[in-house]
Amino acid sequence: MSQKVLMKGNEALAEAALRCGCLYFFGYPITPQSEVSEYMAKRLPQAGGLCLQAESEVAAINMVLGAAAAGVRAMTSSSSPGISLMSEGISYLVGSDLPCLICNIQRGGPGLGGIQPTQQDYLQATKAPGHGDMHLYVVAPASVQEMAGLVARAFDVADTYRTPALLLADGALGQMMEPVDFDAALSVRRDLPEKSWATTGHGGKRKKNIVNSLYLSPEALERSVLSRQERYREIERTEVLCEETDTADAEIILVAYGISARICRSALEAARAMGIRAGLLRPITLWPYPRAALLRAAGHAKHFLVVELNIGQMVDDVRVATQCHRPVSFFGRCGGMLPTPEDVLAEIVKIHESIREEGA
């Protein structure tokens, strides 16, 4: 029988990873994700695994690279400044086609910024997580339950397509406590390909394996990049996730992910109570982006409102996805400030009034 336990988001993601067979964690302390390493430091040795505190995020991501090359499920977690330091290793992981999980429990920036929750790393996560023509599979949970479920999915997608996956959450989700049902979260499992490419010692039984991202011939490098792009197209076809709430008849569609979507949900209920036909489209995968769902919504909605804890990093993705058919507004706070549902409702009301005036 499934059972619900009350956990912090950071702990739930760690427990979910362990239950998915990830026995190797490499990290460096940073607020607000420290519970992930602390949880792993306690649990992994009991499970026959290893939690290793590296000398830096740079070293941690390269330990993940070594572990992934050796064919095991491995992960790291960090927060914004630490993820910047990891971007070199992330690019090498992509170039070497190595699966792993990276968690970014975002905080404020730029620079040392602050330790309060933000969504300021959206562009970094979805557009340029490292140098080169590359993407990560990026998931954005909006609850503790989803933190657990998306860890499982991210590992499976990573192993299926030989790509690193990134779980993009924020300090609020990492710190908040909610009930989580691991059996439900981890119920969907896939048949995964053998890691016949792993560097484990050839044992005299096969040709040697080389894990490498260097191609001195431009022709060979182009072939490698294009073959990865084919896998990206396949991920775009099959691995997109989004959740729509009350969008079917909505005039105003809010677009928000993660903790912002939680705030929007409250604002949405209040707007509906006022008779405003508002809806919420919540991207769950940030890459690949739910473009088809947005384009569909643009068929009937009159206005899109993007809500984020940053200065509007996702707005262009909504414009592109909706092919600029409808106006796209933005509302957000940054620096660790959170908008209230009332703040979002006020924006919805403003847009509603402008639509009425245009209609009049």
Partner: protein, 251 residues
């Protein structure tokens, strides 16, 4: 009767190294050590960024190509998840003693049970002979065209001496491949560095003073002479730590 043949662990590919470069010699010594200990089936090598970046093509064992300087961290990831593997890194002085200083020091501090082959030729080779942390005082390179000025460009780093202070380091020896006698000493040191890993002793490092005739602007013979006359006085050949020696020798 065969008196000389290619080690099993060395691939038949021709090396890309410049004429007179000693990387080929050291590659052979590494392969001979792997053969002697009969560990090639479970060995994983970590290649650096630098002249030896293509080392993954030259050894007949599984290989991982690491980002610049990060080989000890990558080796940690392999060794800790596959403890039965024998894991070695092969790194140059820019890779290990500049950009990767943190990784090698902390791998040593953790006592990672891995083997480090460290090539010191006093310059960045692949990028065209720039000043390295190991460049000698007064040495002319493309980025120290007036000679390395220690007042503004710092002093050479002696990696073996530095690492020998760490409790997790089992073995640190500096050798040179400048003449047959020194090559034989290097061979013994490299084999010991692998053997210590099979015995679970901790991190072993062999620093190999090597020649770079192309970037030094010398003939191969002049370059080997320069290793002996200019490099060895700055980087003395010695065993700086050996936990397997009688009484656990540490200089």
């Amino acid at each position: 009767m065969v008196v000389f043949e290619r080690p099993r662990s060395l691939s038949p590919l021709p090396f890309h190294y410049c004429p007179g470069c000693t990387h080929g010699t050291v590659h052979r010594l590494v392969a001979e050590a792997i053969d002697a200990l009969e560990i090639e089936r479970r060995t994983v090598g970590i290649a650096p960024v630098g002249c030896a970046v293509l080392a993954y093509d030259y050894f007949e064992c599984d290989m991982v190509e690491a980002p610049h300087g990060r080989a000890p961290a990558v080796a940690t990831g392999v060794k800790r998840t596959r403890p039965d593997c024998i894991v070695f890194t092969y790194q140059g002085d820019g890779d290990l003693a500049a950009i990767g200083t943190a990784e090698i020091v902390h791998a040593g501090a953790r006592g990672e049970n891995i083997t480090i082959i460290f090539i010191n030729n006093a310059v960045y080779g692949m990028t065209g002979g720039q000043m390295a942390p190991t460049t000698l005082p007064g040495q002319i390179t493309t980025t120290s065209p007036y000679g390395r000025n220690v007042k503004t460009q710092g002093y050479p780093i002696r990696i073996c001496e530095l690492l020998s202070t760490l409790d997790g380091v089992a073995y640190a020896e500096r050798v040179a491949v400048s003449n047959p006698k020194n090559v034989l000493r290097a061979k013994a040191a490299i084999e010991k560095a692998f053997r210590y890993q099979t015995e679970g002793r901790g991190l072993s490092i062999v620093e190999v003073l090597s020649s770079c005739p192309t970037n030094w602007g010398m003939t191969p013979v002049e370059a080997l002479r320069w290793v002996e006359e200019a490099m060895i006085p700055c980087y003395p050949l010695d065993v700086f730590k050996d936990t397997g020696a009688k009484g656990g020798m540490n200089k």
